[in-house]
Symmetry: none
Subunit: 205 residues, 4 copies
């Protein structure tokens, strides 16, 4: 068997794997992890139930595989994209980047988030894959700014979590339809408001 054939087969396998993942993503997004049945996933993906198990050990592995898809999102570049001496630009860029990530993968992340509260393995995985990279990046950035006296003395760990939580919460409100008032605010406005808060606080000057 030549390499060409091998490559072709590998391509096909990858395509089929993705086909299944797409189906799983869709059904998970619609029904959540538990109410999504393998039968439904198979039907949506256009394969038989058995085929799913040729590519994934079990239903849970589908969730992990989907997480991997989301997790492999570039983040490091932000450090270089934004001018290092302009914290406003940095934070703004970072937040837009995360917003786009959630906008893209939001429906998929919901069932993953749901499982997080129950499944400690998944919890660790999400933490290591989605939280840690961002947190580390932001912490380091904050520390640098503190060292350079551009930021006052802060607990970078807490402030970082504060940032992540603040952003996440607002994103969820903006991307969901919970509060209709959010529809009237643009992504830019929302992010600017948060950035300004972090930089200047809310006290009148």
């Amino acid at each position: 068997m030549t390499n060409l054939v091998t490559d072709f087969k590998a391509q096909m396998a990858l395509a089929r794997r993705n086909q299944i993942l797409q189906g799983a993503a869709q059904v998970f997004a619609e029904k959540g992890f538990h109410k999504a049945t393998t039968k439904q996933i198979a039907k949506t993906a256009g394969v038989s139930e058995g085929t799913i198990y040729n590519y994934f050990k079990n239903k849970r592995e589908l969730l992990f595989a989907l997480l991997d898809m989301v997790g492999t999102q570039p983040l490091q570049s932000i450090v270089h994209e934004a001018p290092p001496n302009d914290p406003r630009a940095f934070l703004t860029t970072l937040m837009h980047n995360r917003y786009q990530l959630l906008k893209t993968h939001g429906p998929l992340l919901a069932p993953i988030m749901a499982e997080i509260f129950t499944d400690s393995t998944l919890r660790s995985e999400v933490y290591d894959m989605l939280i840690v990279p961002m947190a580390k990046l932001v912490e380091q950035y904050f520390q640098t700014q503190v060292d350079d006296k551009r930021f006052r003395s802060i607990n970078v760990m807490i402030i970082t979590r504060t940032l992540v939580g603040a952003l996440s919460f607002n994103m969820i409100f903006k991307l969901s339809n919970i509060d209709p008032r959010y529809a009237q605010i643009s992504e830019d406005e929302m992010i600017e408001e948060i950035v300004t808060l972090f930089l200047d606080g809310i006290l009148a000057t």
Copy 2:
């Protein structure tokens, strides 16, 4: 049948209802909603499976009932407890209050949170019951401060969600064991750091 007897019966029924809810709370906290079985709940509560269905329509209603228990937490008092002209005191008091709430009900809230991502009814209920009261309170407070020129002009809606998100995220980190560094920070320190951020921002002066 006299009122006395009726009352006694009602009391018994209420007691039995609570008994069941205690059992459900415990098992939900341990196993999460889906892996909690009614058999297990019945055993933990010390009743039979059938009895559960005399007090609750189905397993899902147990979750809603538990949410009601958590939701009926006093919050309004904070406004009066803290001096209205001292935003730092207000925010600090508020945050401690919420922290205590999560500390008390955290294990029970986890399975509820997990279901939120799947169950839109539950989502609305949690939103109306836990988020809205706090959000409304904080929004009003913020608006007052803005009107009184103590706060600069802000989008109170966004800043409020930012506050809630920031606090929630930090609380989760502190109450879980995800990041060991959080163990070395006291509740007071954590809340102070967040409050200061909100009031002053992070820029060096």
Copy 3:
């Protein structure tokens, strides 16, 4: 709840358990363990599939439970029934007893025997439950006879297994329809032939 009620319930439970075991026995006998489905067993027993699992942890436990039924067969009495000084009577009685056991439980033992070759746990259980008691009894009897000089010096372990094997094999032939010639031989004749072989050997005198 009075003891009467408890007893009644226990009786019912035992009856239901037996009802299921009867169904399992029948289906196992017809189809063998692997081809017997729980659905079929449930139908035959006249209960729902779920009910089976209220009484037995899994399908395999049905097999073990059936084995227990077969295993609890009296054997010790033989020692006392037969005159101790009459080896011919002892062996004859023993063999008839075992023959009756197999005649009664044969169809049920077949699927158990089949699993023995695959399932080492079952193998041990059958060995301990069916082989060991008989073997021990016979070995002791043989040893006594040797000590009393009624038997020549023999390896009681081997001779015992020889006896068990010899009897088992003949019983299987007699109870199955493999060899039609066996139909023309009575149980008495068969056992007498074997007993005489053991006592006298086959050499012409």
Copy 4:
């Protein structure tokens, strides 16, 4: 196409067939018939799953084919090898021969035996292939000895089954590890004990 080519092809096909059977034998021996998967057999044999079905109609045919391999064991020669007038030599030779057969094919015979209890076709086949040839041979030998007055008058059919059962049972004990005491007895001793029993019985003289 010449005969040479045809022959070559036939040789290849036979080789491939054997290759598959070797794999099947190994996996059946390890896992038993039911737990052996065609995937595992294919891997062990070094072929693809599909190829198996080019040579065998289904998984069950593999078992039958393996049985054929075991069954084609020479036995007739024994009659000529052992001095006809020396029953002890004859029985001893016969038993050693069967013991070697089981020693060689034992692991493979186990899964076959397991299926016997369920599969009547297999049962007949094993009977015709393994039991009948030996039984017939032994029966004839016994009859001759009876006719020659070297053996007393016996039911050759029963005594033959007795012999086969006696030997089989002891062999299984010796080849398995069920009873550790069997490890301390040599093959020679075991067989001699059985032979002596058959010839002389166990009564003290």
